[in-house]
Structure formats: C-alpha cells, structure tokens
Amino acid sequence: MTMLKELAAELIGMFVVERRLTISVLAIVAMVASLVDFIGVAPLLGGAALLLGSLTLLVESVLRGARPPG
C-alpha cells in the first residue's frame, strides 16, 4: 500500500513539479485552444503564443525558485 502511494506520488510529481507553473501552463494551453478553435485566431499566431508563453513561464518559474520563500 505504501508503495502504491509512493508510485501515485511519483506520477503526480512528474507533472506537478511546481503548482503555479503547472496551472499557468494549463491556462496557456486552454487560452490558445480557445483562441484558435472558438475565436478563429490564425493557428500560427496561437502557436507563437504557446511557444512564447511557455518560454516566459519557464524563466519566471526559475526566478521565483531563486527567491527566498516568504
């Protein structure tokens, strides 16, 4: 049972390294999907938003990690 819990924790931990980063990535994907599918924005623009958004989130998350907590 303990091993199953550890496996579950490992699985979740693989994708949720930092909660804020995970939520932000999911939000960007949802935003791009809405822009392309519902608003009719050119798919390439959506792709650029996805790429630039992910790059920005990465840098922001690393910088947040370097700040002392509190």
């Binding site: 996805l50 990465l58 690393v62």
Partner: protein
C-alpha cells in the same frame, strides 16, 4: 522514417533513461553491497517486468486513441514534465538547489538499509528486494512515460524503446565495470538537455494536437529546442545573480 524525426525521439529517450537508470542503479548497488546481488537482482527483474508490462499494456491502448487527442494529451504532459526538469536543472546550475549527489544517495541508502538490518532480523532479503524493486519502478516510471510520450505520437515507440534499452545497457556495463555509484555522470547537464528536448516536443505535440501547422514541420523542433535552451540558460544566469543578491 526520416532520421530527423527519429533522432530527437531516440536521443531524448536515451538521455532521459540514462539519468533515471543511474539513479536507480545507485540504490540497487546499495542493496547489493549490503545484502548481496540476489535480492537486488530479483527486485530489479520484477521492477523491469512490471514496467515492460505497463508499456505492452499501454502501447496497443494508445493506438486506439485518435491521433490529435493523443498528441494534445501527450504534448501537454510532456510540456509539464519537460519544463519541470528544465526548471530544476536551471536552479541546480545556478547553485540555488544542490546538485544530485549519487555518492551521498548511495551512503544514505546504505545507512537506511543498515538501520533496517538492526531492526528487522527475519525479512532482510525481502526488505532489500523491495527497496531495489521500488527504485526500479519509481525511476522507471519516468522512463516509460518518456518512451511512450516521444514515441507514440509518430509511431516511434520501438526506436524510443531501443534508445531507453541502450541507456540501461550502458549504465549496467559501466556499473559492472566500476562497482561504484556512477557519480561522474554529468547528471544535471543531461537533465538540462533532456528538459530542453522534452519541452520542445511538448510545445510541438500540443500545437499539432490543436491543429497548428508548424512551419518546417519536424524541423521546427530544432528551433523550439534552441529557444528552450536559451531560456533555460537565461533563467539560470538570472537566478544565480538573484540568489547572490539575496545572500
């Protein structure tokens, strides 16, 4: 199959597996050193068999999922996974969090098994076997995910699996030769590189799943990888300055 399609998938699977197998090997070696090779080998074989079962079970199931849904789901998961690795590797490169130390992990694992040895007298072999099994399963899960993620979207499951198996063989051969934790493997550099590749794959698959026609098709992966590499290095450099400012 074009080489520039297969190469990133195979190398991502190979390098990611190298990192994970080195970590699992350290714990299996600690078990073998303290309790002998039998429980270590049994735990490892049971762990590898379970992981192979997961791949064999998931492979045919994934073939039934519509390709765009598969690309979107795997793309998002890869993006989350890759950015997580890249974030951690950037922070380690900046000196904000300590580097992964295989020697220290080996010592800690040996000490923990040693303390269990004093407490549990009858089931030592069992505890040692379970420890090896757990290490192989926990580290192997990431390998399985990466193999499936980089392989399933374009029918590259077999080449990606071969990349992972080659990493296993390399670590086992090196481990058998030196009989010590493989502490000289540049783990953070590998993690950084794999994080870059997985993040690039993540954006690529997510975009494909959303119907985005990437210019240059698969070659766009190279551009994405270059940009994630630059962003990771920039983040690491800024993080180092920031942490020094707070020190």
């Amino acid at each position: 199959m074009a080489w520039f399609t297969a190469l990133p998938a195979v190398s991502a699977a190979f390098l990611a597996s190298l990192v994970e197998v080195v970590e699992a090997f350290t714990i299996v070696l600690a078990v073998a050193t303290l309790r002998g090779w039998r429980p270590a080998a049994i735990g490892t074989i049971v762990g590898l068999t379970t992981l192979a079962g997961v791949v064999l079970l998931l492979g045919p199931l994934l073939a039934r999922v519509p390709i765009t849904s598969l690309q979107l789901t795997i793309g998002v998961l890869l993006l989350l996974f890759g950015l997580g690795w890249l974030r951690k590797a950037s922070l380690r490169a900046a000196g904000v969090i300590p580097l992964h130390d295989e020697e220290a992990i080996f010592a800690a694992e040996t000490a923990q098994l040693g303390s269990q040895q004093q407490r549990v007298h009858r089931s030592l072999q069992w505890v040692a076997g379970i420890t090896a099994l757990k290490a192989v399963l926990l580290e192997g899960l990431e390998v399985v995910f990466i193999v499936i993620a980089v392989g399933a979207g374009r029918g590259l499951l077999l080449p990606a699996s071969l990349g992972a198996l080659a990493a296993c063989a390399l670590v086992l051969a090196a481990g058998a030769a030196v009989h010590r934790p493989l502490s000289r493997v540049p783990e953070n550099t590998l993690k950084f590189g794999v994080g870059v590749m997985l993040s690039a794959f993540g954006v690529f698959w997510t975009g494909e799943g959303l119907g985005i026609p990437w210019p240059g098709q698969d070659l766009a992966l190279l551009l994405f990888a270059s940009l994630f590499l630059a962003a990771g290095l920039l983040g690491s450099s800024l993080a180092r300055k920031l942490s020094l400012g707070f020190a």
